[in-house]
């Protein structure tokens, strides 16, 4: 292994790690930037996404929790990973719409602290609900072998090692995660920057009252923004599930890094969220190889340094009141 290949492996691992943060952070960021709503339950949406992905893609045996007690010995439709990638975002999008309509909307006019508290409470409720249903133990979320295997067509292999120049063998699935993230984030970016819908959303971010005075019903774009943010968290759950353990605490565990990604990138900025995620991913990957004991500390140290030197975030342009 040469130094160059080491560096490249760290880069790729960092990008993959960062990709999950980016998916969560972009959703959080557009919700926070546009709706001015602080969503501590974003991790819960990730949790829902992971379990929903597991349900659609595979069929796992259940041994713990109430579902097993009620006589469900296994859980899942087993119709493949691609289906999960298709249906889960739609499902979590729906969950997001419901959440906006029945929870967030009641809290837009209340203080930030109330928003944090109620969504934090919701995160606990969702986590405990999953613990009751599926037990506290981890469920196996295996990486899909192949996708699109229909009839005689063997399908495209997505897991297992792939030989890359210089780097050598690298887990293929990680590249897919990076690719899927890149495509989705690009789509959201185009949607926000280059469509009429995006125009209304951006105008609403600047001055919601003015938009309303111009006769545009701002509540509809808002609910869609919330849904999109939720759907991205769902996707993160599906693609991230096979890379990590799957248990009810993953939602609250991923929430803190995701929030920090948003804040160091700059609230409301998609590019900022991407940059923040990549910075975090690379830092973690580098520390894992060189100083494993410090791998988790580094992320928080970087966040603290960025926030103290550039309080509005790396790419944020909002005015900061001390």
């Amino acid at each position: 292994m040469s130094l160059l290949s080491d560096v490249l492996v760290i880069l790729l691992n960092g990008l993959q790690q960062g990709a999950i943060y980016v998916l969560l952070a972009v959703g959080l960021s557009i919700i926070l930037g546009t709706l001015k709503f602080v969503n501590f339950a974003h991790g819960a949406l990730y949790l829902v996404g992971t379990y929903a992905g597991l349900f659609v893609a595979l069929n796992v045996p259940l041994s713990n929790g109430k579902l097993a007690e009620w006589g469900f010995s296994s859980f899942g439709l087993d119709i493949g990973f691609l289906a999960a990638l298709l249906f889960v975002p739609l499902f979590v999008f729906g969950v997001g719409l419901l959440m906006e309509r029945y929870l967030a909307r009641a809290f837009y006019d209340r203080p930030d602290t109330d928003q944090i508290l109620v969504t934090f409470g919701l995160a606990i409720v969702v986590q405990e609900l999953f613990r009751v249903l599926f037990g506290s133990n981890s469920l196996p979320f295996e990486q899909p072998e192949r996708i699109l295997s229909v009839g005689s067509f063997a399908g495209i292999p997505v897991s297992g090692p792939i030989a890359l120049p210089i780097v050598g063998n690298f887990p293929q699935w990680r590249l897919w995660v990076i690719g899927i993230t890149a495509v989705l984030v690009a789509l959201v970016y185009l949607l926000v920057e280059y469509t009429d819908f995006g125009l209304v959303v951006r105008a609403g971010t600047r001055d919601a009252e003015m938009v309303r005075l111009l006769g545009i019903k701002i509540t509809r774009p808002y609910i869609v923004v919330f849904g999109i943010g939720a759907a991205l968290a769902g996707v993160a759950g599906v693609v991230g599930g096979p890379l990590n353990v799957v248990n009810p605490t993953i939602g609250t565990n991923i929430l803190v890094p995701a929030f920090l990604t948003v804040v160091i990138g700059g609230v409301g900025s998609i590019a900022g969220a991407v940059l923040g995620g990549i910075v975090f991913g690379l830092t973690t990957a580098a520390l894992v190889s060189f100083a494993p004991a410090w791998s988790q500390v580094g992320l928080y140290a970087i966040a603290a340094i960025v926030l103290l030197t550039r309080p509005q975030g790396l790419l944020g342009d909002e005015e900061v009141t001390p």
């Binding site: 944090i116 109620v118 988790q296 603290a304």
Partner: protein
Amino acid sequence: MSEKDANPSAKDALVGGTLFGRWEKLRGREGTVVGITAILVAVFPYLFARAPVVSGFLQGYQSLATLILIWGIFAIGFDLLLGYTGLLSFGHAAFWGGAAYAAGIVAKNVSGDPIVMVVSGTLFAVLLAWVLGFLSLRRGGIYFSILTLAFAQMFYYMAASPLAFLTNGENGLTGVEVGSFLGVIHLEADVPSIGGMLLGTWLYAFVGVFFVGAVAVAYRILNSPYGMVFRAIRENEQRAEFVGLNVWRYKLMAFIISGGFAGVAGSLFTIHGAYVPLQSLFWTESGDIVVMTVLGGAGSMFGPVLGVGLYLYIENIVSTIQALTIPFTGIVLVRDFGFYWHLLLGVVFVAVVWVVPDGLWGILNRLRELAVDLGSKAAKRLRARSENGGGGQ
């Protein structure tokens, strides 16, 4: 009406009125508050763990009573920050767990004297709060919450691995030996005679003294001009600034004081358990104190303590209930009821935040006001009737 109010002839109505009036005057005094707290602290473990009928119904036990007081101190301190200054910190686990570790490490390496442990733990928490407050308070609102969260998580991961030589990493700090108080009193021993029946162990008495002290200090702060500034900042930071107050300094002090309370509580937690779990630094611990405080009622003196009691009661007692039955019938409503304890707490918490932001204490307060209102109306009506009756004859 006012003439009749001034007329002292309507005897029975007025006796109630003056007694009540006297109580209304007394209940706000510092001496009364501290005295009543001391009495309640003294009888609480008896009622909770040993009294004939009540404790059988509550199923409490001594060690839980001690734990409730310890978390109570933490919650009072946290409420100074959240309820009175309006700052939501998600990083108080750093002070609670940091003090717990500091006390434990001092006990292992220097001295196991409980007083030394509490002083060193608190000192560590105060210094830490000073540094973290200085850094986190540079930004307000949600960013403050997230910054405190980030710093606290940093300490969690530092204790987990780079500092494992000090903290014993994932296993938590074991082998903490707590010495005897003043060299003579073993804290785990029972208090002799009547004191033992009421208080139970010396440890409870030790913690109880700190609890009453915490109430006294918090009460003094909140009812001083200093505490008034905290409330002014909560209500309108900008206006407080315009009046000429150094908002930044007051916010920092509120943060440090609150960290100090958490430090006292954290050190006592180590003395109580003779063990520091790594979990005590994790951010869910910060979440727990937030839930307890808000559930009980942020912005009130005793609401958070009520929240602590409820939370720990549900966590430790309700969670062991096998089946929820309708009393005296044996009809099972929910099987494995205790299994759902955390879910239940989450639902109650969301409901409280949504519907009654001033928590259970707020509900109690409104009930009290309602009772006072009805009482005074009834008294007036009584008085009016007796006067009319007198005039008629």
